[in-house]
């Protein structure tokens, strides 16, 4: 509250100005415009059902997060001896082998980040529902969530690489486990949830709060 300058009060909504923004190419369009004259995307004042969709996708992601962590991501077989590895068992194994930094990386990328994304989405959605004072901070959180989403596919990327590359017959193979599908689903659904979230709603929430 205090950190923001007083001129925040001079903010003008796009709707107030009779304008709307193309969320795809960020062109400012007239209010009556149906489609973006530049990129042809549909232009909305506010995304319809944005909150509901975000909620649904976030919930889906949260649910899928459970099997993604409990079920084996991949099975690495050496000489026919294979033990399905969950994310966490993989991390433990890395630690056991003394590769703590990598373990931390994997842990962060595979466990912490998706979890934080989910929590962040939930936080944003709650903030929209219950408008608070410092909504501009949520704006930053949203950007972080969107930005980090593309990196969440790291695990799946590695797994798909391994599965594709390590097929040495009986000597060693890597096969993806059902956890990988769940994990990929978590990533995709969190990204979709973030995309479905209309950040302008934060402004509306801030407006409501101000009023």
């Amino acid at each position: 509250m205090k950190t923001y300058p007083a001129d925040a009060q001079h903010w003008i909504n796009g709707s107030d100005a009779g304008l709307k923004l193309c969320l795809d190419c960020h062109k400012v369009c007239a209010e009556q415009t149906e489609r973006c004259p530049r990129c042809g995307a549909r232009v909305h004042q506010r995304r319809q059902n944005s909150i509901a969709r975000s909620w649904a996708l976030t919930l889906t992601a949260a649910l899928l997060y459970i099997p993604a962590n409990l079920l084996p991501m991949m099975t690495v077989s050496k000489f026919e001896e294979g033990q399905p590895q969950t994310i966490f068992s993989g991390v433990i194994e890395l630690v056991n082998h003394g590769m703590v930094p990598i373990a931390l990386l994997v842990f962060t990328a595979s466990v912490v980040v998706p979890l934080l994304k989910l929590l962040g989405m939930v936080w944003l959605l709650i903030c929209v529902r219950f408008p608070g004072a410092a909504m501009h901070r949520q704006q930053t959180l949203y950007r972080v969530i969107v930005w980090i989403g593309r990196w969440s596919m790291l695990d799946i990327f590695i797994i798909s690489l391994l599965v594709g590359l390590v097929q040495f017959g009986q000597l060693g193979t890597v096969t993806a486990g059902i956890g990988a599908y769940a994990f990929a689903s978590v990533v995709v659904t969190t990204m979709l949830a973030a995309m479905q979230f209309d950040p302008r709603l934060l402004w509306d929430a801030a407006e409501v709060k101000k009023l």
Partner: protein
């Protein structure tokens, strides 16, 4: 999307703010379903945690070591901890939930480690994958969660689904743990363990047959020790056998199921089989015991048993009977010869022997002695199984099944005939003597005539002994008879078949074996002669007619009731005509006397019986005659003139005294008899045929015995006698006054004591040549 908003009311656009239930909410629902399903699945498939106590935890890694069932992981070690007493290791296992019903107190765990031994490498997979814990489930026990692992892997057969068998051997030989079990030199299993049997008498070898080969083992399958190199056979038939180099080193067991017994059921788990020492022992299957007498030197084991030259079995071992009364040979008979092991089968030892019939059993010199066996077709058909036999020391008579004609000959004595003696037909061997045995009244000889010659025997056949040398003879000559040289030395039997058209004989027909060919060929008529005494008589005493042998005695018997001797006599082939009513028989014996010596030849040739056939040709046949002990008095010695002299005294007249005419003997006294009534003496004389005409009804007879001495004073002494012989032995003289009609036979004259002087002067001219010409 809101379904309701898509259907706007035509009146006014009233946008309802209804429950904004979007399709997107399907996603979390689906996700929820997935999660629920996954959670349920993971819970339902969560492992069962059990504790297993190991003696040591060598090679067990937490989280790594697997529990395997038939090579499939069914569990994993989740924790290792020392037991409280530090003597064992408690291993926590997480078992597959599907094993829940198999975790009972009968289930077993053991650690599989790589093992390298001569018998091979086991658990090689553990070199790469690490040790693992083997699990053998058993659903039948009581469920539990704590187990104690086996200290070492159980025998192979118990680990897997294969067939576990016990082989009972006399000695372990080169078998060791892991020794292979071969079927047609393919390894199908291995020896899992061995131990002494409960009674310490055998070695029990446990073998494990892999499941896919289990059907090869049947109840009649034979196992034998295939280890090492096996040399068997004899000089003529050496066999070297080995299964493989591996078995050479580490021993092995081979098995084989005879083709001819494939219908036997498959073996069951835990069946006990004998483990034979070698292939030969195993091959022959049926155990048979043969009892041999002690004097049969069987000598060696592995004596073969041959049936018509084919090997049907083998003597496996020989043992003395408990009472030392004989030898019991344990034989194994090839299963395909089982049909021969029936009642009636005979076994005998064949050993080399050199005899008059040649060298027999020569092959045994090289091939070793063997046991021959024989069984008749009849016995095979009867098929009374027998497993214990009596062996013979030598070859028995050919079995009735042997081809050829089997005949029985009855003889009084064996007389040189022995086993193997030839049976000759026209001095050609057509058969042989098979056996001989004593009977109540002689000897029974069994012969076998070769099939090619059996048509030579029929009901008319006659058999006689040709053994040795037959020497017949006497002062009248010798005859030596022998069969062949072979039969002379080894004995032999000859036969002849006079009538080829006679009926055929069957096997077992009996014949009489005659002592000689003569006896065999006497086909004449049999008659009975009755004697007062058998003195000087013997079987073979000849019956003669005019010096020609017409028959002989074949038997002498005492008729106890009548007290006389009855002799059976056989008349020659063409001499039957003498056996007629009116024929007379008498003994001819040597006679020695001062004045009367006769029949001297009988001293050498023996007494004989003279026969005089009845004169009437149409007389009835007769077979029973009484034999007079001397020549009948009233019979002519030759075809002379029989006369009777009547005398008051016999004087010095004796049988055989000559009858003189002009001091020339023309006849003899054939006998004398007291007349009936006994007022005088009848003297039978016989005048030779050519002097027949000298006797007329007017002839005068006087006693010419003694010396007629006349004394005269001036004439001195006159001594007159018929002859010196008459002086010694006496005699009868006669004179005839004039020629006349010859008298008929049997005419009676009166004998004067002394001749009248005129009788001595009678000198009629009687022609004797004329008479002879008649």
């Amino acid at each position: 999307m809101n379904q309701n908003t898509s259907a706007p009311e035509p009146a006014r656009a009233n946008i309802k703010k209804r429950g904004n239930l979007s399709l997107v909410w399907l996603l979390p629902v689906v996700a929820l379903l997935i999660v629920v399903w996954l959670v349920w699945k993971s819970i339902s498939e969560a492992g069962i945690v059990i504790d297993v106590e190991f003696q040591n935890g060598r090679g067990i890694k937490q989280g790594k070591t697997e529990v395997r069932l038939n090579g499939i992981a069914v569990g994993r070690v989740t924790g290792i901890a020392m037991s409280d007493d530090l003597k064992s290791v408690d291993v926590t296992l997480e078992m597959d939930r599907r094993m829940s019903t198999s975790l009972t107190d009968k289930s077993r765990f053991w650690l599989v480690r790589p093992q390298v031994s001569v018998a091979g490498i086991s658990g090689l997979d553990t070199l790469v994958s690490g040790n693992y814990i083997a699990f053998q489930p058993d659903d039948t026990g009581i469920k539990r969660k704590k187990f104690i692992a086996l200290p070492s892997p159980p025998p192979l057969g118990e680990q897997e689904d294969g067939l576990s068998l016990t082989l009972r051997a006399k000695e372990l030989s080169s078998i060791q743990n892991g020794s292979p079990v071969y079927y047609r030199r393919l390894k199908i299993g291995e020896v899992s363990s061995y131990d002494l049997s409960v009674d310490d008498q055998y070695v029990d070898v446990e073998v494990f047959i892999q499941p896919r080969f289990a059907h090869l083992v049947r109840r009649n399958t034979r196992f034998w020790n295939a280890g090492g190199v096996e040399l068997s056979g004899s000089l003529t038939n050496l066999k070297v056998r080995t299964q493989s180099i591996v078995s050479l080193v580490q021993g092995g067991v081979s098995l084989y199921t005879p083709d001819w017994e494939q219908e036997f059921p498959e073996a069951y788990q835990g069946d006990v089989f004998p483990l034979y020492r070698d292939y030969d022992e195993a091959e022959a299957g049926i155990a048979v015991e043969i009892d041999f007498p002690l004097d049969v030197a069987l000598g060696q084991e592995k004596t073969r048993i041959l049936f018509h030259g084919m090997e049907v079995g083998l003597i496996r071992d020989i043992e003395l009977k408990d009472d030392y009364s004989g030898i019991t040979a344990n034989a194994v008979i090839r299963p395909d010869a089982v049909n021969l092991m029936v009642k009636g089968a005979r076994f005998w030892l064949v050993k080399p022997s050199i005899g008059l019939q040649g060298i027999s059993g020569l092959e045994t010199l090289l091939g070793g002695r063997y046991i021959n066996m024989d069984v008749s077709n009849k016995d095979i058909k009867a098929a009374v199984p027998k497993r214990r036999f009596n062996g013979l020391a030598s070859q028995p008579a050919a079995s009735p099944s042997a081809p050829g004609l089997h005949l029985k000959l009855r003889a009084d004595s064996l007389a040189g005939v022995s086993h193997g003696s030839p049976v000759l037909f026209r001095k050609m061997q057509v058969g042989s003597v098979q056996s001989h045995e004593l009977t109540d009244d002689g000897v029974l000889i069994k012969i076998l005539v070769d099939p090619a010659y059996q048509h030579l025997v029929n009901h008319s056949s006659r058999f006689w002994n040709v053994s040795g040398i037959t020497l017949h003879g006497g002062l009248q000559g010798f005859s030596i008879k022998a069969g062949t040289l072979n039969s002379m030395l080894a004995g032999g039997i000859a036969f002849d078949t006079p009538d080829r058209t006679s009926g055929k004989v069957k096997n077992g027909t009996g014949f009489t074996l005659y002592d000689s060919t003569e006896k065999a060929h006497q086909f004449g008529q049999k008659i009975s002669l009755i004697f007062e005494t058998a003195e000087g008589l013997q079987v073979g005493t000849k019956i003669k007619y005019k010096g020609l042998v017409v028959g002989h005695l074949t038997d002498l018997k005492l008729d106890k009731q009548e007290g006389h001797i009855v002799a059976d006599a056989l008349l020659g082939k063409s001499s039957g005509w003498v056996a007629h009513e009116g024929s007379r028989f008498w003994m001819v014996r040597p006679r020695l006397g001062l004045a009367n010596t006769a029949n001297l030849e009988t001293l050498v040739t023996g007494q004989y019986i003279e026969v005089l056939p009845g004169s009437r040709q149409d007389a009835a046949a007769k077979t029973r005659f009484s034999v007079e002990m001397a020549v009948p008095d009233d019979l002519p010695v030759n075809n002379g003139l029989r006369l009777q002299l009547v005398s008051s005294q016999l004087g010095s007249v004796r049988r055989g005294n000559p009858i003189y005419y002009r001091e020339i003997p023309v006849g003899t006294v054939t006998g004398y008899r007291l007349a009936d009534p006994a007022s005088h003496v009848l003297i039978f004389i016989n005048i030779e045929e050519r002097y027949r005409s000298l006797v007329t009804s007017k002839s005068r007879f006087w006693n010419a015995s003694g010396i007629d001495v006349k004394f005269g004073l001036f004439s001195g002494a006159k001594i007159r006698t018929e002859s010196l012989e008459a002086l010694l032995a006496g005699g009868i003289a006669f004179a005839t006054p004039e020629p006349g009609e010859p008298v008929a036979a049997g005419h009676q004259f009166t004998m004067a004591e002394e001749p009248e002087s005129q009788w001595l002067r009678w000198a009629p001219a009687i022609s004797i040549s004329q008479e002879m010409s008649h």
